[in-house]
């Protein structure tokens, strides 16, 4: 009997395959950053790029090219970390809920952040206080979720396991949305615009910070360390338990990690939709469901996707800047519908 090709490929080549894919995606990420640095209303000639880079590394941007590069690269890097964070949170949330249609916002953590942020904007708070309020809202909702669903998370051996968590999240989410609507309806016209922009997700005023990178790095490290256990959990919780996975502990860690990632992303850039749903989906579709490859690949693709989307957002209708969330939704919806159709045809 002829053996299927996958057998002959063996273990070392599945590793080589993963390395190959990941290096390709790294190239994609770098090219997205390059693209973002070069494109804009003012052109940046290629010949001036090396000097501008040099100046940037020395920490004193004096020429126009260097200033441009600093501005654009700073924003692109923020976009990258936000996109990567959202995509990673999406994969984790999908594995935790064992539902490929879950996204980082499904449990209402972003809703909590929106309530906090909008309340702060309504009260005329400064930018950093808006961010702090968003973070506070996300933390409050996460704690409420954990309080209500703690038995579900702790008692990880029940086969269904997470439907209670999902339902609690959906309810909390709609509660937050009611508060958001309330605030939008009483807000004075002057502040309505910035509130709506926050809701859609916008990178225009997003500050460059180290903290989101730290959160992303730590979460990715955890994800890679437990990637094989996540695979087992995504397949079947009881089988995972009998294969030596501490299901309850893993569920709790996934919950906290994805919650932290979501909070970090929405605090930076507001609730940018679709990245956390589309990117994991596209990666699953193209690369399979093995989380050992899926987790790092989704992060890279998510980052690159948001950099491209943000570059488009600030150039398509220049000098007017669109909120990037509009673009991710406009790009995301048709891609998602197309994928659904493809899946059905399979």
């Amino acid at each position: 009997m002829a053996q299927p090709t996958f057998f002959r490929r063996g273990s070392s080549s599945s590793q080589a395959h993963a390395v190959f894919i990941l290096s390709l995606l790294c190239l994609l990420a770098l090219s997205s950053l390059f693209f973002a640095a070069m494109i804009g209303s003012l052109s940046l000639p290629l010949s001036e790029l090396p000097r501008a880079c040099q100046e940037l590394f020395q920490g004193k941007a004096s020429t126009l090219a260097a200033v441009l590069l600093e501005l654009r690269l700073g924003r692109a890097l923020t976009a990258f970390v936000t996109g990567a964070t959202l995509a990673l949170a999406g994969v984790m949330m999908q594995a935790l809920l064992r539902n490929p249609l879950a996204d980082p916002y499904v449990l209402g953590i972003s809703g909590g952040a929106a309530v906090g942020a909008l309340a702060a904007i309504l009260l005329m708070a400064t930018a950093w206080m808006v961010d702090a309020a968003a973070l506070g809202g996300a933390v409050v909702v996460s704690m409420l979720l954990y309080f209500f669903a703690r038995h579900d998370l702790r008692n990880g051996l029940a086969a269904g396991g997470t439907s209670f968590l999902l339902l609690t999240g959906v309810i909390l989410s709609s509660g937050c949305m009611a508060l958001v609507t309330l605030m939008l309806s009483v807000a004075p016209d002057g502040r309505l615009r910035s509130m709506v922009f926050w809701m859609i997700g916008d990178l225009a005023g997003a500050p460059a910070r180290w903290l989101p990178w730290l959160v992303l790095f730590c979460a990715l490290l955890f994800a890679l360390r437990s990637a094989r256990a996540i695979n087992l959990l995504a397949q079947h919780a009881e089988a995972a338990a009998t294969l030596g996975v501490r299901v309850a502990a893993l569920r709790k860690s996934l919950f906290f990690c994805s919650g932290l990632l979501t909070a970090s992303a929405v605090t930076t850039a507001g609730s940018i939709g679709f990245v956390g749903l589309i990117v994991p989906h596209a990666c699953r579709f193209a690369l399979g469901s093995d989380h050992r490859l899926l987790l790092p690949a989704s992060s890279l693709v998510g980052g690159a996707f948001l950099v491209f989307a943000d570059t488009l957002a600030r150039t398509v209708l220049a000098p007017q800047q669109l909120p990037v969330g509009v673009l991710t939704a406009l790009v995301g919806v048709p891609i998602f519908l197309f994928q659904l159709q493809q899946m059905r045809r399979k």
């Binding site: 996958f6 273990s11 089988a239 030596g244 399979g288």
Partner: protein, 260 residues
């Protein structure tokens, strides 16, 4: 191999099983028999460490379940949950499912090695699903999915196998095939099997021992010859059963009239 000590099982205050003192030696093939809701699956999940008994204890290889390290336990006993078919949420390939059952053997490595691939390939071929290796599990039929699940169990390569209705949704040929395979594993490799099954005739031919569960606390354990007798089975299954001699074997048939 496995021993229970004054084991008591309750589900929401209903007593299922009381004072079970049960010893399973290596190489034995046990079948759990009883009505729906008699606690067969609960008992099996208790043996696997997935369910806490209300009192008493379970020991595998002389060591209480609570004292086992999860990883070491995963190299000692494998568990097949009931009907995996409807539960696949993600598009894993069949080979990935079977390979992931090698998890207990490489806690420090990221990728599986050649030995894992070899074990997975052997398991797939044993279950006759090698040609499905690259298929998405969600596209398999119920019976194919069940055979893949059993292949994963074999790839885990443990001395103790706990199976909840392994013959579920298999066709007749594969039902017999799986039961013969399990019997062969016990006979030739000294593995120990505990399974839940509803087909008395399959159990009678393949198993060496049976544990009858009443669901109200009573139980009866012993060799197939002792326990699988028409009067006992009739009492435990709540329906009159007749044993018919056929060649040198015995066939159980459900009788028509109600048991008084």
């Amino acid at each position: 191999m496995l021993r229970t000590h004054h084991l008591q099982l309750r589900i929401a205050s209903r007593l299922l099983l009381d004072d079970l003192n049960w010893t399973i030696e290596a190489g034995q093939f046990w079948c759990l028999i009883g009505r729906n809701g008699a606690g067969k699956s609960t008992l099996l999940r208790t043996l696997a460490g997935l369910h806490q008994p209300s009192s008493g204890s379970v020991a595998i290889q002389g060591r209480s379940l609570a004292d086992w390290h999860l990883g070491a336990l995963a190299q000692t006993r494998a568990f097949l949950p009931q009907s995996l078919a409807q539960r696949d949420a993600f598009a894993y390939r069949v080979l990935e499912i079977v390979l992931s059952a090698r998890h207990p053997y490489h806690s420090t490595r990221y990728w599986e090695d050649e030995a894992d691939h070899q074990a997975a390939q052997n398991a797939l071929q044993t279950m006759g699903v090698a040609e499905l290796a690259l298929r998405d599990v969600r596209t398999l039929s119920g019976g194919e999915r069940q055979r893949v699940a059993i292949a994963a169990l074999l790839a885990q390569d443990t001395p103790l196998l706990l199976l909840d209705e392994p013959a579920n949704s298999l066709d007749l040929a594969h039902q017999v095939g799986v039961m013969n395979l399990l019997a062969k594993l016990c006979r030739e490799q000294g593995k120990t099997v505990v399974m839940v099954g509803h087909d008395l005739n399959l159990a009678y031919r393949a198993a060496s021992h049976a544990l009858l569960l009443m669901g109200e606390g009573q139980w009866q354990a012993g060799s197939v010859a002792e326990t699988m007798q028409a009067p006992l089975l009739s009492r435990y299954l709540g329906h009159p059963i007749e044993a018919v001699r056929y060649q040198d074997s015995c066939i159980f048939v459900a009788a028509e009239k109600e048991l008084q």
